[in-house]
Subunit: 290 residues, 2 copies
Amino acid sequence: MSEPQFKKIVIFGVGLIGGSFALALRKAHAVGEVVGFGRSEATLQQAQQLGIINRIGQDVAAEVSNADLVLLATPVGQMAELMVRIAPHLGVHTLVTDGGSTKSDVVAAARANLGSKVVQFIPAHPIAGAEKSGAGAAQADLYQGRKVVLTPLPENSQEAVARVRKAWELCGAAVSELTAEQHDAVFAAVSHLPHLLSFALVHDLAQRDNRDLLLSFAASGFRDFTRIAASSPEMWRDICLANREALLRELQIYIAELKQMSAALEAGDAVRLEQTFRAARELRAGWTEQ
Amino acid sequence: MSEPQFKKIVIFGVGLIGGSFALALRKAHAVGEVVGFGRSEATLQQAQQLGIINRIGQDVAAEVSNADLVLLATPVGQMAELMVRIAPHLGVHTLVTDGGSTKSDVVAAARANLGSKVVQFIPAHPIAGAEKSGAGAAQADLYQGRKVVLTPLPENSQEAVARVRKAWELCGAAVSELTAEQHDAVFAAVSHLPHLLSFALVHDLAQRDNRDLLLSFAASGFRDFTRIAASSPEMWRDICLANREALLRELQIYIAELKQMSAALEAGDAVRLEQTFRAARELRAGWTEQ
């Protein structure tokens, strides 16, 4: 049997993102050994029982010194501390990637905490559903056909980027590349803003005395529009703050758009309203999720 | 065999709403004869072939003079003209209802155009999906388990309201009652505003040079949030204008909510953001479409 592409992978955070990464690479026979670290001993044991990891790591320094690849799959807020811990011990050939859904902040943390080892860090954002979480939700085909965006640093070697790309491709993902700034601008527009708007609508209704009456007449349009308002408050607090500047820009543009629609409505401008709705409909009806 | 509850029903507009009403009452053996009127001869012939109507009406005056029930199932914008045509000829025992999704404007039209016959008009809003349209989309079970809101007028007799309620219940609907003003305020909040917001987001993106790049990274959150932005531009132009005042009030409240979120984001107020998202999540996660 041929050697696996990655002899040893170390994963920090063996939940949905990290666990699915491990399961996918194991299914592809692309990894020899997976070592897991995490805050919860119970989760680590569950991950081992589920065949996600081979071993629970005990010594960070020793484990990252001879790993081919390290995946940071914790919440973004915990990554800076992890970077401080692994930086002095990373092997010369050890590459690091992550699963955070914002990138400028992760890159800033890497520059601040990985020192010269930042050259070995290739940031990634796997765009995979977050409705479920935990090791129990991990699945080998989570990334199958999904997009993963790499935001390589100017310091990264082409070889290092290619190798991290290969890992995500072995998981079944379609990998593309953007700069961290492009990434955060794109996701502020198509993901972070819609989440904020959906939360805002439901929060608005939640403040009202007649909310039960209102909700009793809500139908399928409301259901779809507000589905993302049932997302994790902590996760979205962190994403919004991490991508604050791009999100604030999007929010200002959107408020200006609403003021224009309000003015059209106030003026009874049927033509303007219809043109606006028609442009939206054309774009949306022509779009299919890829 | 017992007499049907309604010997003769006249329907103006034999599309999804009117056609399904006819099919449902026929399936319930609750109607003797259904006569259809409409702008398109082809649609009327299709409705006859599909067994939705027994006859295509030729003489409005004659048909409405001895009908038990008249349903106005055209776009709301055409109802005033229809009311003018039917008012002089409505039989003493003929009741009129409608299928419009806004109510204050329909009531205003009825008061302006039905004269003393307004007493025979019991407005209704069947809350049934509008993704499809036309006679071909009509189905006997469209209203099964769906909500229909009646907005009776102070002039209506209890008997008249009960009889129109019965017709919608025979279609399988759960019927409730609100005033026209309550109705329009409720639907501005839970339906019309979300549609406007969804159209606004997609319109905003449609204006941008990099819209293809943006859309290529849009995922399931965007998909759900913007599904209603593929709705009919003409229909939503009319609904927004018909319910302009209530919708403008909702829009101002929502813009104020967004400004508060913008301020919280600008201040990096993690507690405020999380509280807002959590209140939204709790309400949304506890809600199920009825």
